[in-house]
């Protein structure tokens, strides 16, 4: 479905990522991991076409440089991070904008019944249908992220790209978003490529992980095969495994206290 071959990309003529190669099949999810500044966002921007690249990025065997912008957008959608809203729209209007490519040629006409139905379907999928007439500047961060998710789904893409999608989200909403995306890819046969900082969420979402270190591929494959103390400690320049095990011990301790009734369970 998507394949990258020796991709280099960067800004103002200076490469930030080098020789990136991987391929994804339908229904497969990929998480891109690595410390700040390693080139994760640059890779996502190159795949979405926002910045130029060298090497080849192909969707269904066709180089994206040879495709029209609209054709790329019909295959790849990007779930945006929450940003400032300058002009407010209703939730419904915002999600309907995701149908832009499907509504071309209807400049002065109302959206077709198919577009309306699909918008409703996406709103129901993210649980916002009942408040669809609310203005988006009245929403919490979690709700707004779901609006953007519904808009991304309304694009009917084959691949969704995410750049740190769980920013600004609390733990519950992070977990919900990841679960939703995993189900979407599995049941619809689509793919998700996400930049993540949280290794636990990355393991939950991904079939494969790509670890970047200073713009180069440090590892690529199934998380269970790829993650090793050496690799993570080297890439993040800290003892990741010790940190994770320490965290688990703390939780184990909490659990012990919870069982002993020493702490009140918080619902």
């Amino acid at each position: 479905m998507l394949s990258l071959q020796n991709v280099n990309a960067g800004y103002k003529g200076i490469d930030v990522i080098y020789n990136i190669s991987f391929s994804l099949k339908e229904g497969e999810n990929l998480c891109i991991l690595g410390p700040n500044g390693c080139g994760k966002t640059t890779l996502i921007r190159a795949i979405s076409g926002l910045i130029p690249h060298e090497g080849s990025i192909k969707i269904d065997g066709i180089d994206i440089n040879k495709m029209k912008r609209a054709d790329v957008a019909a295959k790849i959608a990007v779930l945006s991070q929450i940003s400032t809203i300058y002009f407010s729209y209703s939730i419904y209007e915002t999600v309907l904008l995701g149908r832009y490519l499907h509504m071309k040629g209807r400049t002065f006409k109302e959206p077709s019944s198919k577009d309306k139905e699909y918008t409703d379907k996406c709103l129901k999928a993210v649980g916002l249908y009942s408040i669809r007439n609310k203005q988006i500047n009245e929403l919490s961060g979690g709700q707004l992220q779901r609006v953007y998710l519904a808009r991304t789904l309304a694009q009917e893409p084959d691949i969704i790209l995410l750049d740190e999608p769980t920013n600004h989200l609390d733990l519950k909403h992070q977990a919900e978003l990841i679960d939703f995306l995993r189900d979407w890819s599995k049941y619809e046969g689509h793919s998700v490529i996400g930049v993540m900082h949280d290794l636990n969420l990355a393991i939950k979402l991904s079939d494969k992980v790509l670890v970047l270190d200073k713009g180069r591929m440090a590892a690529y494959g199934k998380a269970t095969d790829v993650f090793s103390s050496n690799l993570l400690n080297q890439v993040y320049d800290m003892n990741i495994t010790e940190y994770m095990v320490d965290s688990l011990r703390i939780w184990e301790n909490f659990d012990h206290h919870l069982k002993m009734g020493k702490l009140r369970k918080v619902n």
Partner: protein, 341 residues
Amino acid sequence: MKVKYKIILSVIFSFLAIMAGVGLGSIKVPPSHIINIIANKIFSLPLHPDLQSSTALAIIWKLRLPRTLLAFLVGGAVAVSGSVMQSVLKNPLASSYTLGVSSGASLGAALVIVTGFNIPFLGVFTLPVTGLVFGMATVFSAVKFAAMMDKSLETNTIILVGMVFSLFVNAILTLVTAMARDHLAQLTFWQMGSFSLKDWSNVIILFPIVLIGVILIQSFSKEMDIMTFGEDQAFTMGVDVHKVKWSLLSLSAGLTGSAISFVGVIGFIDLIAPHVVRKIFGSSHKIVIPMSMFFGGSFMVICDLIARTIVSPSELPVGAITALIGAPFFAYVYFSRRRWL
């Protein structure tokens, strides 16, 4: 209230504003007589006996009606232009006026007035066309410069760049006028704008320009909606951002430029009208664009009415009235903008 009713009320508001603009002044004419005069001139329907051989007929048909319609067209054009600038630059305070169109157009006009320069095939249109070109060039330079300094085009960057460009161009203007004081009065006309002594020929030229401009802009309404979320998002949703952005900025600067080339620079309507429209109708450009036309037009007609009646029989420049109302409004939007976030 349903959008449909709000639109009907807005159209009625515009109609009443035009009737007030035409009917009020040294001679007061009721709407029924105004409609009678229009029907008589266009469809040759019989005139009311009171109107036959009255001065009202000439005043309404030859002076006030073209003047009011021109004010409506100019107000509508700059308001539509303002709403486009705001969505393309995703900034509620962006407009041709805040980006220095006024200073640019004034400088262009000053150069023509002072040097007596005349482009042969343009003849009397040399002044408005030069004003238009200089005004548009200033806006484009300001947007390009702002984008170079700050890719995300933050509100403060736009305001500051507009200010820097206006101050710089104004400095050149001061130099030019210092060397040619005889032309000060003519220049003041340009900087403050006026609808006095405008006749039907101006309306007939401007009407198709505004109509075509607004229809073309309206055809980009979905793209504008998407671009208010940022260029990157618009790009990944399939919008040809570069083409759409520069088409819209050109159309918008062209609309403002054409409008001010007839009547001089009149600021702030392009900021106020879209703001009010968005408060009433929401942000969808399918409605914001036509309603900006109606509200901008109506506001301009009312400002012109104030300009020509408040110290009657003398007349104030309409740009002074719009600035008196607009500048505090600008401050209000700037300082309360966090409510938009």
